[in-house]
Symmetry: C2
Subunit: 141 residues, 2 copies
């Protein structure tokens, strides 16, 4: 894989859905479709806006181990990133990433309790393409 950050970054940017997974209190994996990340920094850091009272927020507070998965149906390729998910409680970060269009999802706006950010930090990844997979470390590529 040449230029993996570009290859994987482009795959991610071309998808309007992301799949995020957690481990619940009984040890079962839980997966959920989300919109595309509202911000990404390379292929290491990703943010999603979500509802504060949701099940996955509670799960990540209890156990931050996570994976995120982006699937390119057109070219049958995908990437899974493993790492940790944090709940962003810092109001400055939340305000910085707030967009007016989010008002339709969250009561109380940028400072209300419903609007929450998830921040994912990747440690390792696996890229799938043409029925082959390649493992990589996100900070090493």
């Amino acid at each position: 894989m040449k230029h993996p950050e570009d290859t994987i970054g482009n795959l991610i940017d071309s998808q309007n859905v992301s799949f995020i997974s957690s481990v619940d209190e009984e040890g079962f994996p839980n997966t959920k479709a989300m919109l595309a990340p509202c911000k990404r920094e390379g292929i290491t850091t990703f943010y999603w806006h979500t509802n504060g009272p949701s099940t996955k927020v509670k799960q990540y507070r209890h156990n931050p181990k996570a994976c995120v998965y982006f699937y390119d149906k057109r070219f049958f390729r995908a990437v899974m990133l493993k790492g940790t998910m944090e709940i962003v409680d810092d109001t400055r970060v939340k305000q910085a990433l707030w967009q007016d269009e989010y008002a339709k999802y969250y009561t109380g706006g940028a400072d209300g309790g419903d609007y929450t950010l998830l921040k994912f930090t990747a440690e390792t990844g696996r890229y799938y393409c043409n029925f082959h997979s390649t493992d990589f470390k996100t900070h090493a590529i």
Copy 2:
């Protein structure tokens, strides 16, 4: 939700991709896109054919806790089923579900070591539709 087995069964049958998740030895969730199940019995039992030597087979032998996720992009609805994943070692079951078209994926055919079946048994589920979710038990509906 009226007739949940029909509603959820139809959602599942209309998708040509499924997302299956495991928990790896370090406790991280792992998610992977698969083709549609090659067989389903209601919304409780599902089979996928896969490669015996794959990472997920190894993970499920170590820890059978699993979830499967079906996402209907067109209507923005989805279902997550939680339960356990078994590796089917019974050659009679494997032969019964073998299709000639699988020969392109697996060397050795129905009796070769590469062709393996995953069998998922659901215990509970969560259905997502119109930004609401409904929990259910698969045997109770």
